[in-house]
């Protein structure tokens, strides 16, 4: 890696395919000319337009469609980490990374957190990541996330600092889901807790495999709360708005590390396996501070 090369993470708000190509084709071409590895995850239409503009050079770009690449935030971050390990040998890796912004509100908040967490997780990587945000299709709250989660932005061919940038420690996208009156309270103890979580998951008509996934994820989050948090604890489960949610609250000091559950578990033989597992087994796992402590919410979509 070039000495001192560190992460550059920039937002690029565009309103048309032409504007996308006008900014991204030079970014790619310039990188290829310098010998940088180039990766682009974006929409099928943008991929096609970029390929046409780049001509033969397009063959040297690793393209992925956003809908396939951005399925689950933990997995995507891990895939980027592995891609960078593999390709950043002495050069910069240029990335066009356009999240798909699919899914429930909890999933969208989780993708916003992912954008923020990148600033820490990949801080020492020689990566230059530009994240396109299509203003023609994305709602305002998501466009605001772009401003909060990227230290810089690309606009009219120049790079400026995002005045609204927040550090990952300070970035709190929205509030965790509020329990509806129909929520059931569960005893937060080992086997009885797992039995009840399983019953609610079956009642919500999850497949047997996904019931097992949900029970394990909820168990790990509950075990973490009991081990690291402080009483009083509260565990709730509910079905609302096409989602099955299990929410576990504790009254401890909170999870200080904004990277908790985002880093690969291999490096942590003495702990830190529970959250990465929970993240990968659910559609979204939200960690949020509450007035009393910490609330962790596990979400599973019921329409899949």
């Amino acid at each position: 890696m070039p000495a001192g090369a560190r992460l550059r993470h920039q937002a690029f708000v565009y309103d048309s395919k032409d504007e996308f190509v006008a900014a991204m084709a030079p970014f790619v071409a310039d990188g290829l000319e310098r010998g940088d590895r180039v990766f682009a995850a974006t929409t099928p239409a943008n991929i096609q337009a970029l390929r046409e503009e780049l001509g033969d050079d397009a063959a040297r770009v690793d393209f992925e469609e956003s809908a396939a690449w951005y399925r689950e935030p933990y997995t995507t971050l891990d895939a980027y980490r592995r891609y960078l390990d593999q390709h950043a040998n002495g050069s910069i890796v240029r990335v066009i990374g356009e999240p798909a912004w699919n899914g429930s509100e909890a999933q969208v908040r989780q993708w916003a957190r992912y954008e923020s967490v990148i600033n820490l997780a990949l801080a020492d990587s020689p990566a230059w990541i530009v994240c396109p945000y299509g203003s023609a299709t994305l709602p305002d709250p998501i466009l605001a996330y772009a401003e909060h989660t990227h230290p810089e932005r690309v606009e009219d061919g120049s790079v400026t600092a995002c005045p609204g940038y927040l550090s990952p420690e300070d970035f709190l996208p929205g509030r965790p889901a509020t329990a509806p009156p129909t929520a059931h309270e569960l005893p937060l103890e080992g086997a009885p807790f797992r039995v009840l979580v399983g019953e609610h998951a079956r009642e919500a008509e999850l497949s047997p495999e996904r019931v097992d996934d949900f029970v394990l994820a909820a168990h790990e989050v509950a075990a973490n709360a009991v081990k690291h948090g402080a009483p009083p604890f509260r565990a709730l489960v509910w079905v609302h708005d096409g989602e099955l949610v299990c929410q576990i609250a504790d009254s401890g000091p909170g999870i200080a590390d904004p990277l908790a559950g985002w880093m690969p578990p291999n490096g942590a033989p003495n702990g830190g396996w529970g959250l990465p597992i929970a993240r990968q087994l659910c559609d979204a796992v939200e960690i949020a501070p509450s007035d009393a402590g910490t609330i962790v919410s596990l979400h599973v979509n019921l329409d899949d």
Partner: protein
């Protein structure tokens, strides 16, 4: 509630559940079981639940046996345990076989 039953020399069948409340008992059973054997086979098919603390105990036992030139073999684990092992990226560090 966890039950560990010896089925033949070096082979044990696990049933019930393993979580942080009884993982120490599992670790101790494995340590005792490994005493005098280089290969240890654990029938996992009847184990209804195991969490990451239990998986860590299995991994530690496996590493201990490997150091002695032996092996820990997990027989017929349930699908959720296989998923957990794969998601943690430790599939290369545990030996899994389908049947006894």
């Amino acid at each position: 509630m966890l039950t560990v039953v010896a089925t033949e020399p070096g082979a044990f069948s696990l049933s019930g559940e393993v979580d942080c409340s009884n993982v120490t008992a599992l670790a101790e059973s494995l340590e005792t079981a490994a005493d005098g054997h280089s290969e240890l086979r654990l029938d996992m098919s009847q184990l209804a639940f195991i969490d990451v603390s239990g998986l860590r105990a299995l991994l530690e036992a496996s590493l201990l046996l490997e150091e002695r030139g032996g092996e820990l073999v997990l027989l017929s684990p349930r699908a959720i345990l296989r998923r957990m092992i794969a998601l943690l990226g430790i599939d290369g560090r545990l030996t899994i076989r389908e049947t006894a």
